[in-house]
């Protein structure tokens, strides 16, 4: 039946078939060996990356409170729509439709965060209202790439009243990442942009936690592998007395003043209030999508972004006469009894120099020279001191250098000297210029904070202090507190007697029908000095009323109170406020009256308890 030959061929064919089968079998097995043994570790990593989703748990920022515990900066929950980018191909179109965001916008967002790990989500829409969250959340089941995440967002309950002190937070910029200003902070995170938020960012920021989830192939969470809770940032207590700050802000707003006020505790250097007007509300700037709001702000007149207490310098005007008096007494050029005759005009180096009182003060001693702010008197003192000695004293008193207050971008001001003139203008110093400097004009520039530091030194018996804004930093987790205290930068180096003579003059300014009578407080004795900072050369306009606002002089007043045991120092500057006696001194008076009322009310309520 079976032909032998045919069977042989068939069997041969079966063997050929079997041979090829085993060959393919061997190749396949070899492939498995390569995959599992040679490339095994590599694939293991890929499988882990597949299943593990690490999300950052953002640490709430530390709270900022005032010296009495009033909350100045806190956190509120903010709801963000985020996009997980794994397996998102082909899904963006429907996501775009669902959220009503354009594809270009979504692409832009994704591009912006190209450098964060793929497992971390990209924020598509920030700080969405809660009612929208409630509406969207149930629909998210169809969009496994989308999620709603809660992020603690900064909130400044005091709105625009303290922004120059607190600063605000914003998304870390590419420049900041490149320069590694905030080590460990990655794209998309919020950091302190200026002022306290910036200076104390490392304390306020806290430590981010990490959540590791196991997810399935659709991106849905299956279980939790590891959760490292975030650690809240430290609480920063400021030296600011918010009630006083509010008093000052309200007074400035009421009068629509542009300017700056610094209130300091003269014995420690604690800054009690720091006001710069105009101001702005930082809340809309918090977060990531703030470019438009930024542009809006920077186009406002009078630059609200500037902190005028430290970032702008002005001629001190007659306030500088206090420096002149101290220097003159110390150099024995004058004594308390020394007098000069004021005829309204005096000639130095064949040039006329005028007094503020055109009819002249007559024979004037130091007390009246300070009280009535006589220019002629101090022209004579300055002419005898010469510029380099004036410069030396001014610098010793804290002018011409940054005070190193814990804020950013402070200006050093300017104290001219012969050297400075030579270096700056390649010209010799003219003695006539010294006459201008003697009454706080010329090249002289001071910041309100410098003026406050100087007056504090007088008030505290001669110590030039470093002004500071942070009282202490508390770690709420461990209850460890770091306290900051008085730091002495230098001494006035003026005898107590001489200081007393000058302070007596300043007392007269306010209490003895002097130029600063507007600052008088009936219950306490105030001592201060007015100043007027020239904006344009004199005589361009006939009188104050006809001068357009922007050409009016800046009005200065700085003082301490109570006279015997000073508790507070004020440096008040009102831009284009005219004479110091007209605007700044009365404003200081109002501030002080309100402040002392506040203190007595606090004491009363304390006693009642």
């Amino acid at each position: 039946m079976l032909d032998r030959r045919g069977v042989q061929i068939s069997h041969q064919r079966v063997k050929i078939f079997r041979f090829f089968f085993f060959l393919l079998f061997a190749i396949l097995f070899f492939k498995y060996w390569i995959l599992q043994v040679i490339q095994g570790p590599e694939y293991y990593l890929l499988s882990e990356m597949n299943r593990i989703r690490v999300t950052k748990l953002l640490a709430p920022r530390g709270t900022i409170i005032d010296r009495n515990g009033i909350i100045l900066a806190r956190n509120r929950p903010s709801y963000n729509i985020v996009l997980y980018r794994s397996n998102m191909k082909g899904k963006l179109e429907s996501i775009s439709n669902f959220l009503g965001l354009s594809m270009e916008y979504i692409d832009e967002r994704i591009d912006k965060y190209w450098n964060i790990p793929i497992s971390e989500p990209v924020i598509l829409k920030e700080d969405i209202p809660f009612d929208i969250v409630q509406r969207i959340e149930p629909l998210l089941i169809d969009f496994p790439n989308l999620a709603i995440e809660v992020e603690p967002l900064r909130d400044y309950p005091m709105s625009d009243t303290l922004v120059h002190v607190l600063g605000y937070v914003g998304e870390i910029s590419e420049g900041e990442i490149d320069q590694d200003i905030f080590p460990g902070v990655t794209s998309g995170e919020l950091v302190g942009k200026t002022a306290i938020e910036r200076m104390y960012d490392e304390y306020l920021r806290g430590k981010n936690g990490e959540n590791t989830d196991v997810v399935d192939s659709t991106g849905r969470k299956v279980s939790n592998l590891l959760r490292k809770e975030p650690i809240t940032g430290k609480t920063v207590q400021l030296t600011i007395d918010y009630d006083l700050q509010k008093i000052i802000i309200d007074l400035m707003k009421e009068n629509e003043y542009v300017g700056a006020v610094v209130a300091m505790e003269p014995n420690t250097g604690e800054v009690l209030a720091m006001v710069s007007m105009p101001t702005y509300n930082p809340n809309p700037l918090v977060g990531r999508f703030t470019l438009d709001k930024w542009k809006e702000l920077s186009s406002i007149d009078n630059d609200p972004l500037q902190n005028r207490t430290i970032q702008n310098d002005y001629e001190p005007g007659s306030m500088f006469k206090v420096v002149m008096a101290l220097a003159g007494l110390n150099e024995k050029i004058i004594t308390e009894q020394t007098g000069f005759t004021c005829n309204g005009t005096a000639y130095f180096y064949r040039q006329p120099f005028r007094c503020n009182k055109l009819s002249g003060h007559g024979y004037t001693t130091l007390y009246d020279a300070i009280r009535l702010s006589c220019n002629i008197y101090f022209y004579n003192v300055g002419d005898r001191l010469r510029i380099d000695r004036i410069s030396e004293y001014a610098k010793r008193f804290g002018f011409g250098f940054k005070t190193n207050i814990d804020l950013v971008d402070e200006k050093p001001g300017l104290v001219p000297s012969e050297d400075w003139k030579q270096k700056r203008y390649k010209e010799p110093w003219y003695p006539g210029e010294t006459i201008s400097v003697s009454i706080g004009q010329g090249a002289l520039q001071v910041t309100p904070i410098q003026q406050a530091v100087f007056i504090s030194a007088l008030a505290n018996g001669g110590k030039v202090l470093k002004p500071f804004l942070v009282k202490n930093i508390t770690d709420k987790n461990s209850d460890e507190t770091t306290t900051f205290g008085r730091q002495i930068r230098g001494l006035l180096g003026i005898s107590d007697e001489d200081q007393a003579i000058v302070k007596r003059g300043m007392w007269g300014v306010v209490n003895d029908y002097g130029t600063g009578w507007g600052a008088k407080v009936w219950s306490k004795e105030v001592a201060g000095k007015t100043g007027t900072s020239q904006v344009v050369k004199k005589d361009l306009f006939k009188n104050e009323k006809e001068t357009p606002w922007q050409f009016r002089n800046h009005s200065w007043f700085s003082c301490f109170a109570p006279f015997e045991q000073p508790e507070i120092v004020l440096a008040v500057l009102v831009e284009h406020g005219g004479d110091g006696s007209v605007t700044a001194a009365p404003l200081a008076g109002k501030i002080l009256r309100a402040y002392f009322k506040l203190i007595s009310e606090r004491e009363k309520s304390l006693n009642e308890k």
Partner: protein, 366 residues
């Protein structure tokens, strides 16, 4: 001769049966692993029931003379054609293919059982040709008869299953002594056919599968995703595996179609190269015994049945095990004995049953 029940099982046949059962049990283990945390968690029970049924049928078939069985082949073939035709007319949709008849709880896929019927029918046709060698004209009639069910399955559309009919035919032709020059001509024709199919017949998703196979990295997110994830699963299993029920790629559903086409990826992930070696070793032993059966067949019919079946089974095995590591294109071809699927299991068991019978008849002369 009537009284030969089970006694015809020699050691080798027992070994074949044992290997078959062992592989089926491995299959049930991994059907459980891939479905236990899903809505399909009852599937392994269904597979056990199928296995019991299949085992009984195997034992019955293995004791039924294949020469008698082959006589029914034309009738079975007709029934197959009719049921396939019915399916295309009023079949219910399932997974995009109309290949399922729902018969209460158990579904039978006619195209699966059709493979066995085709093997028997082709074996009958060729064994009736009393020639030492096959010429081109000899294969025309069988080719047409084969083309009918293949076409019916292909338009369901289930191109993967339709393709598996081709190795049956080729296997029988090859072992049935088709002349070498005809083989060469056929290879040329095949190339032309592939070209034409690519140009005019294949649907975009079918083309996709092939391009994916050629360049899987480029399609990581699209159709290459399945292969990519499967490779990650297999590779990440390493030498010892991640442990039974502990494969992350499988349990978290990164591996697609895991209880059917990609079940071997799961096995490889959870048991590592050790499990792969054991499982492939069992297959190797099974194939050795089946090839042996082919060589021991006593007549042409037995030879062709065995050749057709071994060809079918090896095609399934190589394509599937190769597909999950990206060495073969993605087709809907399950891994015989291990993948979930009652009719596939049943047809494989029937085939093995017939081959046991072929082997048990080797000393019997008519």
């Amino acid at each position: 001769m009537k009284n030969r029940i089970n006694l015809s099982f020699d050691l080798s046949n027992w070994a074949t049966l044992l290997l078959t059962l062992l592989l089926s049990l491995i299959g049930i283990l991994f059907i459980y692993s891939t479905t236990h945390n899903s809505s399909d968690s009852h599937l392994f029970v269904k597979q056990i029931l199928w296995l019991l049924l299949a085992t009984v049928i195997l034992l019955l078939i293995s004791n039924y003379d294949y020469n008698k069985l082959i006589r029914f082949a034309p009738i079975l073939y007709l029934i197959l054609i009719i049921s396939l035709a019915l399916l295309t007319l009023l079949g219910s949709f399932f997974g995009g293919a109309r290949s399922w008849f729902f018969l209460k709880y158990l579904a039978i896929q006619p195209s699966e059982l059709g493979k066995i019927i085709t093997i028997l029918f082709m074996a009958k046709l060729f064994s009736e040709l009393d020639r030492p060698q096959l010429y081109f004209k000899d294969i025309i009639k069988p080719a047409i008869l084969l083309a009918i069910p293949v076409a019916l399955i292909a338009i369901q559309p289930d191109m993967g299953t339709a393709l598996t009919y081709i190795p049956i035919f080729l296997g029988i032709l090859f072992v049935g002594r088709l002349r070498t020059r005809v083989i060469i001509v056929l290879i040329i024709l095949l190339v032309v056919f592939v070209f034409l199919a690519w140009s005019f017949v294949l649907k975009p998703y079918q083309k996709d599968r092939i391009t994916t196979f050629i360049n899987p990295e480029e399609y990581k997110q699209g159709s290459g995703y399945q292969i990519y994830q499967s490779k990650i699963a297999i590779g990440s299993g390493g030498f010892w595996g991640k442990g039974y029920l502990k494969g992350t790629q499988s349990q978290l559903k990164f591996v697609p179609e895991q209880h059917t086409d990609f079940i071997f990826s799961v096995l490889a992930e959870e048991t590592g190269l050790v499990g792969v070696t054991i499982t492939m070793g069992l297959y190797l032993a099974l194939f050795l015994s089946l090839f042996n059966t082919t060589l021991l067949a006593r007549d042409k019919a037995g030879l062709f049945i065995a050749a057709g079946f071994v060809s079918l089974l090896s095609f399934h095995f190589l394509i599937n095990v190769g597909m999950v590591v990206g060495l073969m294109p993605t087709t809907g071809i399950p891994l015989p004995l291990i993948s979930y699927g009652g009719s596939s299991l049943l047809s494989t068991y029937i085939g093995i049953g017939i081959l046991i019978n072929v082997r048990s008849k080797r000393f019997v002369n008519i």
